[in-house]
């Protein structure tokens, strides 16, 4: 079995922390074997080291693909794209996707921002798809325009 990251993983590689620990790194690039209590006490580790890395989510997506679970793989790929987006913006985007929370233009610019600013084309595609369905099912925000209805 190759240790190259280019190798597609097989279902037997799961769980990675047991079978392929050499592939796992923290978002700051440390190997997961560096996550020890001594390192916490000496201040070598920060909270940033305890977050998941987008590369790890891609590995999990490959495991999902290898287990014939394409939807789970897509979820992990959207997640990998979202790692870079700050917490508050992710929450804001979720709230904007709620029924009648956004206009068609707002959803379109959210998709553009996901694709352009955050290099998140898979997430952008999900938002564009939502915009299309919301338009058809009357789930876009109604224009305020000073009216009561």
């Amino acid at each position: 079995m190759s240790t190259s990251q280019d190798t597609r993983l097989a279902a037997g590689d799961y769980p990675l922390s047991v079978n392929r620990p050499e592939l796992l790194r923290t978002p700051t690039g440390k190997p997961i074997t560096a996550l020890t209590m001594d390192a916490v006490l000496s201040g070598e580790l920060s909270a940033e080291d305890l977050r998941i890395a987008p590369e790890t989510l891609e590995l999990q997506a490959q495991l999902a693909d290898a287990s014939n679970r394409p939807q789970l793989a897509m979820n992990f790929r959207r997640a990998a794209e979202m790692c870079a987006i700050p917490d508050a913006e992710v929450l804001g985007m979720y709230n904007a996707l709620r029924p009648r929370a956004s206009t068609a233009d707002q959803l379109a610019s959210m998709a553009d921002r996901l694709e352009g600013t955050w290099s998140a084309p898979v997430c952008a595609a999900l938002v564009r798809e939502a915009a299309e369905v919301y338009a058809r099912r009357d789930l876009l925000a109604r224009p305020a325009a000073g009216s009561e209805d």
Binding site: A47, L50, R51, I52, L57, A64, N68, R69, P70, Q71, L72, A73, M74, N75, F76, R78, A79, A80, E81, M82, C83, I85, D87, V90, L91, M93, Y94, N95, L97, R98, P99, C123, L126, V127, E129, A130, V133, Y134, R137, L139
Partner: protein, 336 residues
Amino acid sequence: MTTTQPRRSPEPRHSLRTDVLEARPVNLDGFVEEWPEKGLVAMESAYDPAPSVRVEDGLIVELDGRQRADFDFMDTFIADHAIDVSSAEESNALPSAEIARMLIDPRASRDDVLAVTRGLTPAKVLDVLKLMNVVEIMQGMQKMRARRTPANQAHSTSARDNPVQVAADAAEGALRGFAELETTLGVLRYAPLVAIALQVGAQVGRGGVLTQCALEEATELELGMRGITAYAETISIYGTESVFIDGDDTPWSKAFLASAYASRGIKMRFTSGTGSEVQMGNAEGKSMLYLEIRCILMAKGAGVQGLQNGSISCIGVPGAVPGGCARWPRRTWSPA
């Protein structure tokens, strides 16, 4: 002819124990009459659609009797994300009895069954399940289970939201082998404190145990983002479009949320509640089982890491109708 004649008493004999048990309030409980028009029916309703599927240019254009232009958002999400389009027409053409037999036939492997069931529509799944009794369904579940080793979750909750009590309870739960620990709150403001107590207690009991604190969606995600919780499972989904909107979500907002959790390294499952749609007043005339199937397929389409059938807040509904007790509440599921 036996040597001892059975004694014949004028009335059926009851032990005193039986009389006492039968007089208990729980045994005075009865079933309500089914009301299929409103979805107050557990498993079989004349208003559930008949299975059908049609694929054009790699797109499902007809699902369970509805044309694509008339799809509600559940139909659309299930057709575009959950059903395997390449095998849909072929799988749905199989007789339901044949699929039901595959589920219980030891000669049919898990992969054999999945090759067929990936393409089934919600109404076709219902058509298969209607043919099976509970024992057969459980036999099928055992074969289809994705998880190698089942694991259990425990609740560590204090009626007074006392963090010390929760921590001690969590430590014992972890020590006894529970893989996941959940807490719920009486007073919302105490959530972060109690969640931290749960986490600390659990890790003292046994390292690596996952913890969650059940709250409203966005708050729960915020606790997870801060590293105070490790998983979430009270992310509600519903079987009809109208109730989904009532819950202030859509399949797309929930799919986005699922990925948001995963992006922070948090494990997450959805929750559906059998009977929640009729309880919330918009089952759209469909049976509880049919709507539960739509929930499961929606969860699968979102690629979420699992689904729990909560049904705690609505167990009174399926429990009140004939056949409803077979819908055992509170079980979790891993996606196939």
